[in-house]
Amino acid sequence: MSRLAVWRRFARHRLAVAGAALLILITLLVIAAPWIAPYDPAAQDWSQRLRPPSRAHPFGTDQFGRDVLSRVLYGGRISLLSGLLPVLIGGVAGTVLGLVAGFAGRWVDGFIMRVMDVLLALPSLFLALAVVGTLGPGWFNAVIAVSAVAVPAYARIVRSRVLALREEDFVEAARAMGAGPLRIMFRHVLPNALSPVLVQSTLSFGFSILSMAGLSFLGLGIQPPQTDWGDMLALSRQFLPGAYWLGLFPGLFIMLVVLAVNLMGDGLRDALDPRLQGRRQS
């Protein structure tokens, strides 16, 4: 299947394109935070405490008079990174484990897959809590925790693709031509296993953003003075219902990002695997 065909099918999926556009827009906004944020996100102005949205402060101000819009933009950098890093770390680790399990077979395969079963034996947020509990609260530890949650799905997907591809003629041909196991793994099998990995990554990204926001909400993720959207939501709790804007905007941004990624994922799945068209399942 040519790259162009995939791209065309994706482009026809209007909601997926809208999702991609939204995600790109939010990403650009948070990257540009230092230039477009109207205030320093940490600057306190005690004369402007808990002000509702206005022209000077479009998203209002918090209990220290800090500008919520600026904090949403800066916090978004951490939140988006919180979604991306676990996908990269968990995705690479899971893919490598799946490749090794699928190629090595026998007890190596058995061992790796049983370990994955053990990781899946905990509800995902509890696995993340277990890891954060072991390493201690903090943003980086939370990233490691959520990455660990992401690993088993990748390992299972890649392993099953390897098992199917291993017997294919083109792999046999490569082997006959003297390609070593590493070359076969990365040159011939991995590229053909990438579609499901890509689709899994969109699911994983949404889940990671939500989990990282959840951990921050529980006080186990990002620590002050830094902030992310989950942490902002946690702080908003004590000022409800009066200062609704404190929680409204960070929550809205989390939802928009996850929604955008889910739409993209649906489109990507249909584009990469036309057989599944119309049978979208989460």
């Binding site: 509800p123 959840g214 939802m255």
Partner: protein
Amino acid sequence: MARYVLQRLLSAVVVLWGVTVLVFSMVHATPGDPVRVLLGDSARGATAEDLARLRSELGLDQPLLVQYKNFLAGLLQGDLGKSWRTNRPVAAEIAERLPYTLQLTVAALLVAVLIGLPAGVLAATRPYSSVDYALTGLALVGVSMPVFWLGLLLMMVFALTLGWFPASGSGTWRHLVLPALTVGAASTAFIARMTRAAMLEVLTEDYVRTARAKGLSEWAVVGKHALRNAAAPILTAIGLQFGGLMGGAVLTETVFAWPGLGRLVVNAILTRDLYMLQGSILFTAFLFIVVNLLVDIGYSLLNPKVRFA
């Protein structure tokens, strides 16, 4: 059938054993000396002798394998150790919190099934209509919303502004309404999507056409012929919700100050109460494995193909 059940049971036991190894290593992989973690601030005043005495009291001076053996032996007798903070048995603390979490997850699942299932059927019987699009859109928003944000919004509107339900605490059914809606929302959306997909598939089958041709009412066609044949994937989807509900419960318990297992785990992490953390994680895994086992067995009863796969 008996063979399949036995096989699943055996692999569940193996996985559970793996979880005990994982959870046991957690306490021992934790950075720093567990005894110092246990003592917290008072560790500074403690002499080396004090630390050593405490270490031997807790059995932490023994070889790891011996410690693991003792840990496992304790587990088999339902002994999860003592909380470092309250000095009460971890099992007793869990037993106290468990009913609250079960109440919350069961109520949430009920919400999800009672709303998600009819919504999915409705969308499938009118595919690509405005009703279908509205429901599908709502379901997409439902799975994309952070559960604790939904909780805060519901609390703000229905508790703090309208005053219909209490904003926090537990005790009456009124306390349960908002947390259950919050925890159940994502599962409602998921069940609706799965029901729609499963129903769409069977609604095009010949036997459905036959049923219609016989002149059966739409109720009988959808309810009796289609829904029954779509039941297996839908029930599996429902069974798979448990893990997500447990995770959602942790966050929601924090929003509504609901005294369940989730609060216990989070407090254990914040206070570095390692045995409490170990015990509650292990117990949650046990619960999760048992539920998944029951779902698998239930699914194989509904769908005989699985047993021979």
